[in-house]
Amino acid sequence: MQSETKSRVDQLTSPAGHAVTVLRFEGDIASTSKEAVLGAYQALPKGTIKQVLLDFTKVDYINSSGIALVIQLLMEAANAGQKVYAFGLSAHFTKVFTMVGITKYAGLFPGQTEALAAL
């Protein structure tokens, strides 16, 4: 019933010349999304990545279990000394992420261009 979560990884360079790893999600982010969210993050090469961008542009539905997965990703990234940013959230989910405090640990941007420009 829940649409499968897909994820893929892109490597980009910010206008300032920094390497940025982008995790792009598609579908619902819910309790069934652990592999697509945490698994995809954990499969990234260790030690070399400093900045991670989460792309929610193609995500329509995020529930509290999905938010918990994002928080777990942020925990692991913090422990690895990485900075995490996100873009592409709807106005509603930008509000929800702000309400639960995620913005304290992950900067939110409207789109990829704005996010890359800030890195």
């Binding site: 019933m1 829940q2 819910a30 309790s31 069934t32 539905y61 529930n63 509290s64 279990s65 938010i67 918990a68 997965l69 928080i71 777990q72 942020l74 925990m75 913090a78 709807s90 106005a91 509603h92 929800v96 309400m99 639960v100 405090g101 995620i102 304290k104 640990y105």
Partner: protein, 147 residues
């Protein structure tokens, strides 16, 4: 005396994760028919989804022989949604999630459903059913909230 009309829509969901989206879609359709603005419709969708997830997971404990009832009552200026399960009801209110404690592993990353519900609707109450059955959460959003 003027008559206050209420229109009722009912949905029954299987106790299977993912079917909360059926209730979301129904609540969204009713709220749009009533004239709620898009941002309030989105608030309602998330609140209804979280209420249904709690009912499926904690109330009915994912027992697919049990169903979750969703009753939407559209009044003149408000929409009430009751989400009914066969559990004992919520024994205590959840504290507001503390992102710092979650990030430090001192608090479960999950457990934000009740907080989101309370934050996104105008009224939310949890009612324990008699004899441990037919417990429900009642949500209300009002049309004139930002008027």
């Amino acid at each position: 005396m003027s008559e206050i009309k209420t229109t009722t829509v009912e949905v029954r969901l299987p106790s299977r994760m993912g079917f909360e989206k059926v209730a979301m879609s129904t609540a969204s359709a009713v709220a749009k028919l009533m004239g709620f603005p898009e941002d309030r419709v989105e608030d309602l969708k998330t609140a209804v989804a979280e209420a249904c997830i709690n009912a499926i997971e904690h109330g009915n404990r994912l027992n697919e022989k049990l169903s979750v009832g969703v009753v939407l009552s559209a009044g003149v200026d408000s929409l009430e949604v009751k989400v009914i399960d066969d559990g004992k009801g919520m024994s205590k209110k959840q504290a507001k999630p503390d992102i710092d404690r979650k990030m430090h592993g001192e608090e479960d990353p999950r457990g934000m459903g009740m907080f989101l519900i309370q934050a996104l609707v105008d009224e939310a109450e949890w009612v324990a059913g008699s004899e441990g059955r037919a417990s429900y959460v009642r949500l209300v959003i009002r049309l004139d909230k930002d008027a």
